[in-house]
Symmetry: C2
Subunit: 292 residues, 2 copies
């Protein structure tokens, strides 16, 4: 069994098995809230959150787009410090921040802010022999979003780019991927572009150029780790840009990765049943760019 | 202040102000659950739920499509009975059923099922003088879903037709409507059809024919009250059918209504700033068809 920690703003660390959410909390009742997840590392020097500022920044952007009046940065930081001081499980974990609009029955009570820490679960991995080395990667399937790539332009009510608690389609897509014998999904648009995964960003390298789908009209979430990889690629002399990638180009790319803050970049070894190119050297380079 | 009641399966009625949900409940953490709402009427003969079986049927369909193993009907019925026995607030209310996939950290614990009762809030209404009578109705705006009308065909991961807890786009659409000075929204597709409202179904009467958008490929939710009105219309000798209605036809219709179980059919008196036809006799007839 894995370990957990729960801390609620205004209360601090609480027993992890205590119910802390009211049935009329709008985060529960309507998925009306936002969240963010960051990688946590705990070793002999203590526990720390990787890219904490970037994740709290992204949470603040989500809250602003939803017009939720969340706590100030210092309050989050104090809650994080209190939680880290009480977390002693060696190894990797995930810190998740949740902010809801608060209670339906008592709008005056304001927003609810809490964080959880969980031990990292071992990821499902596939191995692919390439160039004499073994690469651990994922089998993926493409799943349509039912929308064109510009569906979120001028439609702020669709909450594109906001990491909301209304996340069930992402979960259902991951379930559909497993049903098809795969490990994960890549969302594609009705006009034929690859966007991202249900819980991860997407990067594609073709002819030495790194691409990731742009935020904005696509509605995809900004990814802290994708941004980190793109910046490192540029520093490393590689061209790297936000640009829509036609689905067909995934099959001819030098490499395709799904990227999340907790598991880093995972190469896609098979897409819709077709093996993809996996270059072990390039994969190791991308992993280093993400700090893994 | 309005009154509330909360009942949790396995515990019965609990204090309405007690937190009963864990932070890792997937309904909270991922919007991974479903719900349904029904009209409640309380008078000297006691409290009762209108169309209870139909709402529990719809909840069961939502759960099945999400592959959530919920409680049997008898368990819901017993919880409803216990809650109704303790509800003594005269007038109208709403009973809401919520079912989640359960806890992320303890998958073995199974699903969470609860219900709430809230007193009915007074709806925002506009009045429109028509034919010497005053009709209470709504001003609405059209908002795009970003999807064509067949986006949900063969895409079960998009959870079309499922009343999930991932409901935030509906809430954001209602907020956008208010921002534009309206009371409610009507979702429209990228190929130009009117679907439904964020928390209501849509019916349109033109040339004596009643139409509502079909479920299925459109992804819209089945509406218990729309079904009731359509059946009553047929029994009343009116043609009534599920059929996509082009947005432009709303402006030339004899009447357009947003329909919910708690507030019944509300005529749209203005759409995107243009007054719509409102026939007081037809509106009264539609209200009677819905049992209001």
């Amino acid at each position: 069994m894995s370990e957990h920690l729960v801390a609620v703003l205004g209360r601090g660390v609480v027993p992890a098995d205590e119910p802390v959410i009211h049935p009329d909390d709008l985060g529960f009742a309507r998925g009306d809230g936002c969240f963010d997840s960051a990688r946590l590392v705990c070793d002999e020097s203590g526990a720390r959150v990787v890219n904490l500022d970037e994740h709290l920044d992204r949470l603040a952007v989500s809250a602003a787009r939803m017009e939720i009046d969340g706590p100030p940065r210092e309050a989050w930081q104090a809650l994080v410090d209190e939680a880290l001081a009480q977390w002693h499980v060696p190894g990797e974990g995930t810190m998740k921040f949740v902010l809801t609009r608060g209670r339906e029955w008592y709008p005056d009570h304001g927003s609810l802010a809490l964080l959880t820490i969980t031990q990292k679960k071992a990821a499902t991995v596939r191995t692919s022999a390439g160039g004499g080395q073994v690469v651990r990667g994922l089998r993926a399937v493409t799943l349509s979003t039912g929308r064109p790539s510009d569906a979120f332009a001028e439609a702020p009510w669709l909450l594109g780019g906001v990491k909301t608690l209304s996340y069930v389609v992402n979960i259902a897509a991951a379930r559909e991927a497993r049903r098809r014998g795969a490990d994960d999904a890549i969302f594609v648009t009705t006009d034929g572009y690859a966007l991202d995964g249900p819980t991860s960003g997407l990067i594609v390298v073709s002819d030495g150029v790194m691409r990731t789908a742009p935020t904005g009209a696509t509605g995809i979430l900004a990814s802290v780790t994708v941004d980190e990889i793109m910046a490192a690629a540029r520093a490393d002399g590689m061209q790297a840009r936000g640009e829509l990638v036609p689905v067909g180009e995934l099959f001819t790319a030098d490499g395709v990765w799904l990227v999340s803050s907790s598991r880093g970049p995972s190469p896609i070894v098979e897409l819709d049943g077709t093996p993809l190119a996996v270059d072990p050297e390039l994969t190791a380079r991308v992993a280093r760019m993400a700090g893994f």
